[in-house]
């Protein structure tokens, strides 16, 4: 009897050592985002989202300890991002990637993540085509067609028959214009003029004068968030478009929470469509904001914060239940959960989120600050930009 018991003891000991080793093992996640330069606010919002999730759920995902390795991408910089990704994969040995704001940066790393079977969660990059370039891309943001088309539906339902579109003349702007126009004309609306504004424009007066002279029911706008969006909405009120009965509608990029307060009184009444508003009324969002304000009292949450928060949720899910690679992607495809933004589902085909798109109006909230108040909801909108749809 002596010998077997010793044997059993040894096996038990080995098993214990193994389990300790398992508990000890660290899974690294590379986060690629702009932390310097004009787009650094994205990096900060991402970090907020990740930090809130970690504060709520701890550093352990199942039996694995999760460690984030941050890499600064600057702006659109495919060559630099590709090199940084190679370094993360080879030198740092990361098993997962996350972040990515710009489409060319995502496209540049597609071959790398396919070769190494590295699940990569896009917290922002919003061109539909990205996910077709590698089966390891998952996306927790949105795509422009997804949020532009519901804006057109709402416009039709609310008696807007004629629109002038004004978009910034670059990839995402043209995507927004195309998606809006397609949906709006299909439902019987009429786009009487399509204006593309150069990306460097800072004075939007002439464009809005042109809009005014066409006298449409509404002007649809897409501009990159920040200074341009602010200048646009200021020019909208300065040129008296509201008095002329021309409504301002657009995607949520033009009034996201990081720039919203800067719009001041000129912002009130602007209607936008997006998948997340800080003012979204749900217990999940309240808990999320409470945790955020505990960590960073002065920060606000916007679409980038929520993209990173849900992205971190996906990363934790994959890390806790699989050893990475194909199995990791399989394990989350088709999954549904309730995010602070509302109910979402990771579509197994597009690997983007099917989610509610909210129509919001800029109003003065109870605390005297501006907020995006949700006034209508389009439920479970898929990524309308995928070829399949």
């Amino acid at each position: 009897m002596k010998f077997p018991s010793k044997w059993a003891l040894a096996t038990a000991g080995l098993a214990m050592i193994q389990s300790v080793a398992m508990a000890d093992d660290t899974v690294k996640v590379g986060i690629i985002a702009p932390f310097s330069g004009p787009f650094a606010s994205y990096g900060q919002q991402f970090k907020d989202g990740i930090d809130v999730y970690v504060a709520e759920h701890g550093v352990m995902a199942g039996t694995h300890k999760v460690e984030f390795v941050y890499k600064d991408s600057g702006g659109p910089n495919p060559a630099g991002v590709k090199a940084a990704t190679q370094e993360l994969l080879i030198k740092d040995g990361v098993k997962y990637l996350g972040g990515i704001v710009f489409t060319p940066n995502a496209l540049a790393i597609a071959p790398l993540i396919t070769q190494t079977k590295t699940p990569t969660v896009l917290f922002n990059a919003a061109t539909s085509i990205i996910n077709t370039k590698s089966p390891y891309f998952l996306r927790t943001s949105m795509t422009l067609p997804q949020v532009s088309a519901p804006m057109a539906d709402w416009a039709i339902e609310n008696g807007i028959k004629t629109v002038v579109t004004t978009v910034t003349d670059y990839g995402p702007g043209i995507d927004a214009e195309t998606a809006f126009t397609k949906e709006f004309t299909a439902k019987g609306g009429k786009v009487i003029d399509a204006i593309r504004m150069p990306i460097q424009t800072s004075d939007f007066g002439p464009f809005l004068q042109r809009v005014k002279s066409k006298a449409p029911n509404a002007v649809f706008a897409f501009l990159p968030g920040g200074a341009p969006a602010f200048a646009f909405s200021k020019a909208y009120s300065d040129n008296g478009l509201a008095q002329a009965g021309i409504k301002a509608i657009g995607t949520g990029d033009i009034d996201d929470e990081t720039t919203l307060q800067g719009l001041g009184a000129s912002g009130i009444g602007i209607i936008t469509s997006h998948h997340y508003s800080q003012a979204h009324d749900s217990p999940e969002n309240k808990a999320f904001l409470a945790q955020l304000h505990k960590l960073r009292p002065n920060d606000v949450s916007n679409y980038a914060t929520i993209g990173a928060y849900d992205g971190t949720f996906l990363l934790y899910k994959m890390i806790s239940s699989t050893d990475g690679g194909d199995a990791a992607v399989k394990s989350v495809e088709g999954m549904s959960w309730t995010s602070p933004r509302g109910p979402v589902k990771l579509d197994p085909v597009s690997r983007s989120l099917d989610q509610n798109v909210y129509i919001r109006e800029v109003v003065k909230g109870a605390d005297g600050k501006l907020e995006n108040k949700e006034i209508a909801t389009y439920k479970d909108v898929p990524d309308l930009g995928m070829p399949a749809h």
């Binding site: 310097s36 941050y70 890499k71 990839g171």
Partner: protein, 314 residues
């Protein structure tokens, strides 16, 4: 020491340096490939700015055009990388020649502004004709194997060796160009255009030719960058690229090929280390480094040994 011997020693030193990088930092080859590409680009700038004194903040125009040319050539004609590099060189040279007709008539600040303007125009064209260039999303392509044999691999071995070979070729070519009577004329133009004109040098045409050659080398760097990334986006026309190259050149020392190489190496290494230690505030370190070097060693790092010797003698 004869010029040929010096060139040979320079090539050996470069190969030694590349080998140290290859074996010493084997898991960082992607980053070092970036450094080598940047070296080619800064060398081409040194030829234009350092040797001939043509002040420009728009060297990215040629880099970007070379990059797009290589990508478009790969998707529409042949995916052979070496032919792609040639296409990049021709395109870079052509755009330099075309813009040079106007630019080389200007001097000083006017020239600086015009060189920036040319890059901006090309940036906007690439944005506008997104059917050809892929616009803001970028243009992806797959470069074929080099010489029909060597496939670009995941860890970046082939890309690194390929880039180093091109660096050596560009280095040798520039050594020859700068030591030739044509190169001496370039230095003469930098020192005094009036005197060169007085001894009968057609200054305008010489400068145009120098700018075209410089553009072709910048095109090589752009094409190489496109091939190793397998994607080109609008960022190849970024003002930051032009300005960064000038900064690296000043850091190392203008008017000497080793200044370009040293400046690029130091700048990019500090950049790499600082941005991985602190990805949030690394720009501060870079700024401080450039300030200190430019303040204490205004002629660049290449002047450091002579400066130290002088201090010791005092």
């Amino acid at each position: 020491m004869s010029h040929t011997l010096k060139t040979a020693l320079g090539v050996i030193a470069l190969i030694a340096l590349a080998a140290v990088g290859y074996f010493g930092l084997a898991d960082n080859l992607a980053f070092m490939t970036q450094v080598v590409i940047m070296m080619i680009f800064v060398l081409s700038l040194d030829y234009v700015l350092g040797y001939a004194g043509i002040s420009t903040l728009g060297h990215a125009a040629m880099f970007g055009t070379g990059a797009y040319a290589a990508a478009i050539f790969a998707t529409s004609v042949s995916s052979d990388p070496i032919l792609g590099i040639l296409a990049g060189a021709v395109a870079g040279g052509a755009i330099a020649l075309l813009s040079g007709f106007v630019l080389m008539r200007a001097h000083g600040l006017t020239l600086l502004m015009l060189s920036i303007a040319v890059t901006e125009v090309l940036h906007e064209l690439a944005n506008k004709y997104s059917g050809i260039t892929g616009g803001a999303d970028g243009l992806s392509f797959t470069p074929g194997p080099i010489l029909g044999r060597f496939e670009f691999d995941f860890a970046g071995h082939i890309a690194y060796i390929y880039s180093v070979c091109l660096l050596l070729l560009v280095f040798i070519k520039l050594r020859v160009l700068t030591a030739s009577p044509f190169g001496l004329a370039a230095r003469g133009i930098r020192e005094s255009q009036a005197r060169m004109r007085a001894i009968g040098t057609p200054v305008y045409w010489r400068m145009l030719l120098i700018y075209t050659f410089g553009g072709a080398f910048a095109g090589v760097a752009g094409a190489l960058s496109a091939q190793t990334t397998a994607l080109v986006s609008l960022s190849v026309y970024d003002f930051q690229l032009s300005a960064g190259a000038v900064l690296m050149l000043i850091l190392g020392g203008t008017g000497q090929l080793w200044g370009a190489i040293l400046g690029t190496m130091v700048y990019m290494t500090v950049h790499q280390i600082a941005s991985s230690v602190d990805p949030f505030n690394w720009l501060f370190i870079i700024g401080a480094m450039v300030l200190i070097v430019v303040y204490l060693v205004p002629n660049g790092l290449m002047a450091l040994p002579a400066l130290l010797l002088r201090w010791r003698r005092k």
